[in-house]
Amino acid sequence: MALQRRPIESGVIDPLPFMHPLLRRNYGTWKWHERPRPGVLHHVAESGEEVWTVRAGTQRQMDVYTIRKLCDIADAFADGFLRFTTRSNVEFMVDSADKVAPLIARLEAEGFPVGGTGNSVTMISHTQGWLHCDIPATDASGVVKSLMDALYHEFTHAEMPNQVKITTSCCQINCGGQGDIAINVQHTKPPIIDHDLVAKICERPAVVARCPTAAIRPAMVNGKPSLEVDESKCVCCGACFPPCPPMRINDPVHSKLAIWVGGKHSSTRSKPTLHKLVAAGLPNNPPRWPEVTEIVLKILYAYKGDARPYERMAEWIGRIGWARFFELTGLPFTKYHIDNWRGSRGSLNTSAQVRF
């Protein structure tokens, strides 16, 4: 038998050889920047050298033909270098302002929208979904494609009060991030257990330990070792499903979508915040999830119309209050919006300050 090859454990590799020469030369010595138009950044270095960056949206899940097309564009216009943002936008760097317009024209001709900078709605960060994940209740790429079609103008223009970051997640483990608007799966029924398979597939103590509300316990069912769920305690989170696929949480009808707002990663102005539930019970409705798009647009345009410059979603709601948020968006307020356990007191109004 041939000796097996030992891996080269190179880890994170040095980016310098793959970095546009202008960025390499001025590494760590940038002086200031401006945004001449949506989708374009202009940075000036201490050395006096300047770089213009053109940002364009992609579908993230890319075929090699699309990637090679992006490479062709980089070879023709950007010295053979490109980079990607954390939200799957592609960026091309050029060394003169004259090179920006032809690059934009080519990108647009090839179907890549130019935008996503500054106070725009940038690309939605999304998870894997039905295309590749083993636990999703919905798709990710399809939801994002549908939403970005509807948000195309807001990506290619910069008309929002501040940047808007939208995220999606296909299960309640939520591998998407915090979002100004987040679209997440919300299961509404406890798992349906396939008792024939539990003992064969699942390490039962690990599944019991995984439950956040201690609702799962070992049980004998039809003479076989299995698990049972105390449905009065179950919060339908689906945490038991990854370690034990017979705990079937995903349901074509009862796995719904929920919308959350006001998440913010940055410590800019206000401190970072987690997003909050504002709408639930939306149907998981492929291929275009129109009910989700409708509510996202409702929230987005209430924000666009009412927020002041630089206010992120959370900061806008902080100023106008939740009563006015529900009034402006027309979304119903229910008992499910109130977090209802001992540790949730911090989310209650402990003052005489109310809004009318």
Binding site: P7, G129, K145, P286
Partner: protein, 424 residues
């Protein structure tokens, strides 16, 4: 005779509209009948269409890996392989990109060529944790694919209960707000823990992220166990002529409403001559004024990082933001970077020793208390770690004098160090 394209009426609806369509890309691969992956992508489209019809996923996990590694490959076996046999095995290789996700077209083309040879031709740039995701590889092709990708210079990222791939913002490569060398810090820390990445044996996943300033473009605070932020200790650098030019261009009302009043700690004031007064002692390095007046203002010169620990998403006790564990660590020369690495090692050691199975470090700290965690990693308490001191008097305080003595000794030592630095 090539396998026919599957009927995909639901997915076809995702080919219309102005945004680039992933479905069109999948179809391009499926229609490439001269390529070995075409039948696989036809069945993949068929299975995805089935998911759109039934609103169910059809992938299950399993065990597939490359020699020497216990992570980096995400196995996917189809539950409906009898109907879609060509995509029965559709594994992902998570590949670590260069820090900052910079590519030369030569490198990216080589990667595409290798992937066309061994896999489906479908690549996500990038996954949520920051990996290049080569999606759609048969079990027997995983090792040869990895070998070639590895020879190109790329390594596999993390999965499961180990150190995961990291993300750093564009940072020093193209941003004047950058307060440290994000790529250097990321490579130093992550590459020190490659054993924990490639042969995962931690209680649960552990993610590092690096943002050059408080704007947090790497989404570190909510999405990483070990979040490193650039910041500075001295004063914001001001070019008053540029401040006046900004006010002249935008007007006083705009400047006051959108810069002065937006300062979260009221540290800014516009002088009568349209210059800017900054109370740097009150400034919390939030970046807003610097973001807006990019020509006039920049971070100070005494730069370093603030380290926050314990951010995560929902599973299993709810979303958590990371909290301050090191308010400031100067990060300029190599010795400073070694101190950051030393902190990461202490944090990792304590996590490995003390977390329960499947417990993230944020959950562990919530369970044992921040004070015990700090003691465990040998860190001192600091008022920057809290929003406010405790409001509950039910605590035993009979060690008070001892703790006061520690604080006093620390403050004296700091004063001595400052005096010595001033003398030099």
């Amino acid at each position: 005779m090539p396998k026919p394209m599957p009927e995909t009426p639901l997915l076809d609806e995702l080919e219309s509209g102005p945004w680039p369509s992933f479905v069109s890309g999948l179809k391009r691969l499926a229609a490439s009948d001269d390529k070995r992956y075409a039948p696989m992508m036809k069945d993949l489209l068929g299975q995805l269409e089935r998911s759109y019809e039934t609103r169910r996923g059809y992938w299950k996990g399993g065990t597939v890996s490359v020699s020497g590694y216990g992570a980096g490959v995400i196995p996917r076996f189809s539950e409906i392989a009898s109907e879609f046999p060509e995509s029965a095995e559709f594994h992902t290789l998570r590949v670590i990109p260069p820090a900052g996700t910079h590519y030369s077209t030569a490198m990216l083309r080589s990667l595409c060529d290798v992937w066309e040879k061994h896999g489906s031709g479908l690549i996500a740039l990038h996954g949520q944790t920051g990996d290049i995701m080569l999606q759609g590889c048969r079990s027997e092709n995983v090792q040869p694919c990895f070998d070639e990708v590895n020879e190109l210079g790329f390594d596999l990222g993390g999965a499961g209960a180990g150190v995961r791939s990291a993300i750093s913002c564009v940072g020093a490569a193209r941003c004047e707000h950058s307060c440290f060398d994000e790529a250097k810090a990321m490579r130093l820390l992550v590459n020190n823990f490659l054993d924990e990445m490639h042969r995962p044996s931690l209680p649960y996943k552990f993610k590092f992220k690096f943002s050059g300033c408080a704007n947090d473009c790497a989404n570190a605070i909510a999405r990483s166990d070990f979040a490193v932020f650039g910041t500075w200790r001295d004063d914001i650098q001001v070019d008053q002529d540029e401040v006046r030019a900004y006010v002249a261009r935008h007007g006083r009302k705009w400047t006051i409403d959108n810069i002065i009043r937006r300062c979260p700690t009221e540290a800014l004031s516009l002088n009568d001559d349209d210059s800017l007064e900054i109370d740097n002692k009150s400034c919390v390095r939030c970046m807003h004024c610097i973001n807006v007046m990019t020509k006039a203002l920049s971070p100070g010169r005494d730069r370093g990082v603030c380290v926050l620990i314990g951010g995560k998403r929902t599973l299993k006790t709810g979303d958590m933001l990371a909290t301050v564990v090191t308010p400031f660590l100067r990060l300029q020369d190599d010795a400073d970077y070694e101190k950051l690495l030393d902190l990461a090692k202490r944090v990792m050691d304590f996590y490995v020793e003390n977390a329960l199975e499947h417990e993230r470090i944020g959950e562990m700290i919530e369970r044992i208390g921040l004070v015990n965690f700090l003691a465990g990693i040998g860190a001192e308490v600091d008022p920057n770690m809290i929003n406010h001191p405790r409001t509950n008097s039910y605590v035993r305080t009979d060690g008070w004098e001892e703790e006061v003595a520690k604080w006093t000794a620390r403050k004296l030592a700091e004063a001595d160090a400052t005096a010595q630095a001033a003398a030099e």
